[in-house]
Amino acid sequence: MSTAELLSTQEYKYGFVTDIESDMIPRGLTEDTIRLIVEKKNEPEWMLEFRLKAFRHWLTMTEPKHWPNITYPDIDYQNIIYYSAPKQKATKASLDEVDPELLRTFEKLGIPLTEQKQLAGVAVDAVFDSVSVATTYKEKLKKHGVIFCSFTEAIRDYPELVKKYLGSVVPTNDNFFAALNSAVFSDGSFCFIPKGVRCPMELSTYFRINNSESGQFERTLIVAEEGSYVSYLEGCTAPKFDRNQLHAAVVELVALDDAQIKYSTVQNWYAGDEQGVGGIYNFVTKRGKCAGKNSKISWTQVETGSAITWKYPSCILQGDNSIGEFYSVALTNHAQQADTGTKMIHLGKNTRSTIISKGIAAGRSNNSYRGLVKVMPKAEGARNYTQCDSMLIGSSCGANTFPYIEVMNHSSSVEHEASTSKISEEQLFYLQQRGISQEDAVSLIINGFCKDVFLQLPMEFAVEATRLLGLKLEGSVG
């Protein structure tokens, strides 16, 4: 194998559309749209204020089109449907009342929601277009004091908690897409782990976009009180449409003293076809605040989908001795573009951060790591270790590294390493010589390249991620 050439990839198997009646609001975005969303969701006055404040600020902001290493045609924000919900009974006492068509959809995606089939050990909040349709294991979690529900329910049932933490990590005016999300977010997951509780099972949210005209704007808020622990998983898919769709989510994590949050994502939004037609614009703001001493937030992401990925899961290391981690695999093929990375802001003493990023670019895609490590003057003894490796498959793709390192404290230590390489022909030859097909050999090598990140994923996700990488790259080496 001398040069890599691109053949066809495996069909995107989540590309089907569920035929279901939707309750949609008209296209466009004005203050009235926001009032309509608030009305539909029956939200209190303070939510309306929160949204309007964000919206008014959003109007003054400009889209960040210049600094990221991505290009896309202008988005017409007035041509998006900001709220789309599958029509179903107003209240669902149990899962039996959820539209069977929806249950079938999630089952097809590998996320069974019915009681007898539920995934053991994982509680799932299933979000379909703009709303959460079901949350499993709610009662069991409640016994441990863990709150896990849709955002809509959280606003209704736990307004004080939501009020206290919503926007505390990502303020409404943080950036263009976060402001837009704050104005129009429709649903999402809320999760609260009380003091000293180790969440007995993995929590997860599965996001599904179904409607071709709508955007998805969901919001996740996870609060881990003193000494608690939670592991949270996020998965996403969308049908194949030949037009681009916007997904602008906000995720906020708060870890108090000695708390730990582990957040894992396997992102497999529809990436568009080989020519780059269609696909999701994944413009997401994710940030965690290690507010307490000895707290820890760990991000793990496997980014394989989306036409464009623009996300920088970050950690604000405020509490002394707090730890931030970022483990990422970003794979781009065909015409995909990814500009992703992290920010580690060291504020507290002896704060530590680790960044491991693996970028794989194939086809005509463009894969950029962009990261910031900032050590503030008071962050004595702060440490960071960063490793960014890129692999290029084919000669028409690009791999870029843009690490910003800003150190204002002399007792800190920051290390950054990056490398770029290709799949070694010797390794391939060695494997093929032993009867392993070329495809399998490539897959093995790629998995080895990503091992440091996959090791961080919970078991089921690691298996899924390994399989996904194999699928996505199928035919790209030849």
Binding site: A4, S396, P403, H410, S412, A418, T420
Partner: protein, 440 residues
């Protein structure tokens, strides 16, 4: 701030008109200068919202009313003390940007053309070469500082090393700031053309005779043709109140080699933009540097290594030692263009912070569009290793001396590759002296 910048521009505009009226050059150059001035008027000094200037604020420079220096008449300067013994028969002196024939010694340069850049542009024997490379690699269309330098291009050094000539004696070009008055601005310019299979060693030495505030805005363009080799040392030892901005642009021919080491010691605010374009197969470059900054110094290095063709190698090592309230910026870009297969590019930036107020912003950057390449970069910021210190102390070396030794050792990695003894010796002395003053 806008008005302040505008005021300074007017200041330069006035000086530009005066120079133009009093001492016109050749028409070709007048055109270049005119369009460069126009460009500077549009661009002005780079501002912090420009990503390339994110960490270096030129506002204090922009608001100062610097007066462009004029050709010194009958100067008596002791330039000897800035000459390294190795270059006794081959040193060129430039005072406030103007080449001084009287102060220069060219006896060891018989096979080389070393003349005033202005004469080269005018002289029929050299103008073809001079005109084809002047303002080519250090273009002024997107860079305000380059535009300003080009607008005030009235002299400088033209160094032409003919084909197959191997120059044994290292050639020194001393850029001397010798302002008759404070707040003067100089625009030194250097054009080096090393023809096929030639080889030479070049030393650029930026020094001053006084300790006043002034502004040096230098541009050096270096052309290394097929099979040629150039060893290049760049010493920046401006006064502690000086503003120093400079651009070094090199283009490399097939199988050529360029080995450059930049030592940045002086200046209140210094910025060096170095770019190397590898646009022919088989070219190789070493782009190394050392920056030492203390008290309130601000030093900034931006480098671009542009791999445009296959089979080129680049190696880069930059080290920095920061003390006091000093601040250092390093930005290293490596581009590997589509088709530039078999590239091997390596970049390292290491910084030592000796004081609590020192600050470093570093950004090593890779942009790669070819798959069969080996690229790596690393950056580190830290302090002296406690275990190494302990090791030394355990052997009876007191902590101050131990710290000094380790810091010296850190710098030595860059210094030891310098092949000219007197530079290395002087640098050793400078580093040790700087360390001692820091320790006191």
């Amino acid at each position: 701030m806008v008005t302040e910048i505008a005021k300074t521009e007017n200041n330069y505009q006035a000086a530009f008109r005066a120079v133009r009226a009093s001492s016109p050059t050749v028409p070709w150059l007048e055109l270049v200068r005119g369009s460069a001035m126009e460009r500077f008027e549009q661009l002005g000094f780079p501002a912090v919202h420009n990503e390339e200037w994110k960490y270096t604020n030129l506002a204090p420079l922009a608001k100062q009313e610097f007066v462009p220096a004029t050709r010194p008449a009958g100067v008596v300067i002791d330039a000897e003390r800035f000459v390294f013994p190795e270059t006794a028969t081959a040193h060129l002196v430039v005072v406030n940007g103007f080449f001084s024939e009287e102060l220069s010694v060219k006896t060891g340069l018989e096979n080389v053309i070393a003349i005033d850049l202005l004469s080269a542009v005018a002289d029929a024997r050299y103008n073809k070469v001079a005109r084809s490379y002047l303002a080519r690699n250090a273009g002024y269309h997107n860079n305000g500082l380059s535009a300003l330098n080009t607008a005030f291009l009235q002299s400088g050094v033209f160094l032409w090393i003919p084909r197959n000539v191997k120059v044994e004696t290292p050639i020194q070009v001393t850029f001397l700031a010798d302002a008759g008055r404070a707040d003067s601005a100089a625009f030194p310019r250097l054009l080096v053309v090393a023809e096929e299979n030639s080889s030479a060693t070049l030393i650029e030495n930026f020094v001053s005779t006084h300790d006043q505030q002034y502004f040096t805005n230098a541009v050096a363009e270096i052309v290394i043709k097929d099979g040629a080799r150039l060893e290049h040392y760049r010493m920046q030892r401006e006064s502690s109140k000086a503003f120093h901005t400079s651009i070094t642009s090199a283009e490399l021919g097939r199988n050529s080699s360029y080995d450059t080491t930049s030592i940045n010691l002086g200046g209140r605010l210094s910025r060096h933009d170095i770019s190397v374009v590898l646009d022919h197969e088989g070219a190789e470059c070493w782009v190394d540097g050392l920056y030492l900054a203390g008290s309130d110094q601000h030093t900034d290095t931006h480098s671009v290594i542009d791999h445009q063709q296959p089979h080129c190698n680049s190696h880069q090592l930059y080290k920095g030692i920061l003390d006091g309230n000093a601040r250092a910026v390093f930005n290293g870009k490596i581009f590997v263009r589509e088709g530039a297969q078999k590239t091997d590019a390596m970049q390292t930036n290491k910084n030592l912070l000796l004081s609590p107020q020192a600050r470093v912003d570093t950004k090593p950057q890779l942009e790669i569009y070819a798959d069969d390449v080996k690229c790596a970069h690393g950056a580190a910021v830290g302090q002296l290793d406690q275990e190494e210190l302990f090791y030394l102390q355990a052997r009876g070396i007191n902590p101050e001396l131990g710290r000094s030794l380790l810091t010296y050792g850190f710098a030595e990695e860059v210094i030891e590759k310098i092949k000219i003894d007197s530079i290395r010796a002087q640098l050793d002395e400078v580093v040790l002296r700087q360390l001692n003053t820091q320790l006191e």
